[in-house]
Subunit: 339 residues, 2 copies
DNA sequence: CTGAAAGCGCTAACAA
DNA sequence: TTGTTAGCGCTTTCAG
């Protein structure tokens, strides 16, 4: 078999184009090309094409300390909220020539370990969607002076910049909608309270009820943002004898699980019980009944998080801010006035 | 603000542990640790911990030519088939200490450009889910002698190793099911015929019909694997005056779009027309009507693709194979005997 | 078992 | 505008 020719280096180009490799390096870098005469640029580019040259980013990363990569820590890419976030991140970064290294830190790997390995890879920054409210990882990372942005999560002390949806407002939209429909006995299916989304949405739910002079007709904390956890949570709510005409879930999957549990007990949605979700994940308009939910701009969330990180890498000051995006209510078939 | 202390290097460790940096390097590498006395290993490890040392992978990549990264090219991560594939890839690679660099090559970036940039990053291999049947990218990559595995796609000439579902069998399962229910006039909504999935599923559909002595009751090619494209395709089928009691779509999103189009024309699914999808994407059991579909093992597909690539990187011979996974039929509410 | 030397490919600093 | 020199941090010889 034909021996694999080793990749061309700057020295090869220099030889071919009859210039010094430094000159070649400059000629190939748009940012430094202006120092070089057009004629030489032309020759170097021709040589680069002829030899199928590609910079060795490993080498330039070593020299410059910039790898052109950013790490993204996700708890579970198969959870439908994350793909659009990742897409937003990826597009914002790709536009600036950066690459995304993803780690799905669900089962095998711990986020800490993954973060460590990524820092060893010399990612220039980290976007974290896995952190809980008081997360030791967050502390460690800020000590390491790593550039970090949280997405769809925030830390308790607000040490780190983050991009989130306005969870308080989101729950207010849901509650106001149900109250306007005439509901008075409204229960809540919360996410894990160790996550900022879980805690904030629960708080938002209670605040919104209080504003109407109401109290929660029941609450169950779900252990994860999954269909099964929602099913289980709703079952616990029912078993506890809670009486409610509507449920606000902290997440669409929880809402779907709740609908399943309600239907299993012979309750009809929305005739007997209204259900409102949160996120407006894809296909929520196609499930049955179509889910009334709070839409979050996931793509935008990812995009903004990446922009925030890029700004911080460029040393733009004042980037320790938190971006809060405004959610909106999407009314569909799963909510209706009480019987 | 406190000046950021530069990351510790092997020299720092060497100094701290009173050994040569070569020794430190060996002591920290499990694969070479055995050359070093336990006492020295202990000292080096202590120093590493004390100084919060992390290898600089950029440096070791430069030295060894191995970056510990693999590139993944996806057409659209928000398409629900890809997250489980990506997850499978990620888990297989993470288990071997590799990282995944993703590029979503939908709009902004072309796959070619992304592949080039990834090769510049010195990824050790590429997993490609974007390629069409005769893709110049594929040719280029094989010329570059880059290590490449296709996933959920194959190339026309079978030059590259790939992991796919058995599309012919999948369509046979769908058709056999409908025929068994009594359907005789069955139409096909294909994916883009430039993709291997589009072409093979169409072929499988026709073969399966022929085996029953039947012919297609109509066919429309959809321009993409999306809800809208399915809606449009079904509309074209109807406008063309095709008469059918069942439709087999090459993809679940196409099937959902088709259901939408059928319902818009006042046809009921499954009473008037049965619809079968392909992929069994998440939530297909929750849409209305719940979708009968051909289940593909996406996670496994990704996992196997990554394993194939890893084997090839390790120089295991005979890795130019194609892995074909067996799909299964999942019968739900969208298919029923014809009226 | 440990150390010395060299060099992967690149770019920043300095010199001409 | 171009060239020279040096060195980023690591690992692989080769020598002790």
């Amino acid at each position: 078999m034909p021996k694999r020719s080793p990749a061309a280096t700057l020295d090869d180009i220099a030889l071919h184009a009859q210039v010094h490799k430094t000159t070649a390096s400059r000629a190939l870098d748009p940012a430094r090309r202006h120092m070089i005469s057009p004629e030489v640029v032309r020759r170097v580019e021709a040589a680069a094409r002829a030899l199928n040259y590609r910079v060795n980013r490993a080498a330039s990363a070593l020299r410059t300390g910039r790898s052109g990569t950013v790490g993204v820590l996700l708890p579970d890419i198969t959870n439908p909220v994350f793909p659009p976030i990742l897409r937003g991140i990826e597009q914002a970064l790709a536009a600036e020539g950066f690459f995304v290294m993803v780690a799905d830190t669900g089962h095998e790997q711990s986020p800490d370990e993954a973060a460590d390995r990524m820092l060893a890879q010399r990612v220039e920054g980290l976007i974290v969607a896995t952190s809980s409210l008081r997360d030791p990882l967050v502390r460690r990372l800020s000590q390491d002076q790593a550039k970090v942005v949280l997405v769809n999560r925030r830390d308790e002390d607000g040490l780190l910049p983050s991009v989130v949806s306005d969870d308080i407002l989101g729950m207010k939209l849901a509650v106001d909608h149900l109250v306007a429909q005439g509901h008075r006995r409204i229960a809540h299916l919360s996410g894990p309270l160790g996550l900022s989304t879980g805690a904030l949405r629960k708080a938002g739910f209670e605040q919104a009820l209080a504003a109407h002079g109401l109290q929660a007709a029941g609450h169950a904390e779900c252990t994860a943002y999954s269909f099964e956890a929602g099913e289980d949570g709703a079952r616990r709510l029912l078993d506890a004898g809670a009486s409610f005409s509507a449920v606000v879930a902290a997440n669409d999957l929880l809402a779907l699980g709740a609908i399943q549990a309600l239907q299993a007990q012979g309750r009809c949605v929305p005739d007997d019980v209204s259900v409102v979700g949160h996120n407006d994940m894809p296909l929520m308009d196609r499930v049955f009944p179509a889910l009334t939910t709070v839409r979050i701009l996931h793509y935008e969330m990812g995009y903004r998080a990446a922009r925030l990180l890029l700004d911080s890498l460029r040393g733009v000051p004042g980037t320790t801010s938190t971006v809060v995006l405004r959610p909106e209510l999407v009314v569909r078939g799963s909510s209706a006035p009480p019987a």
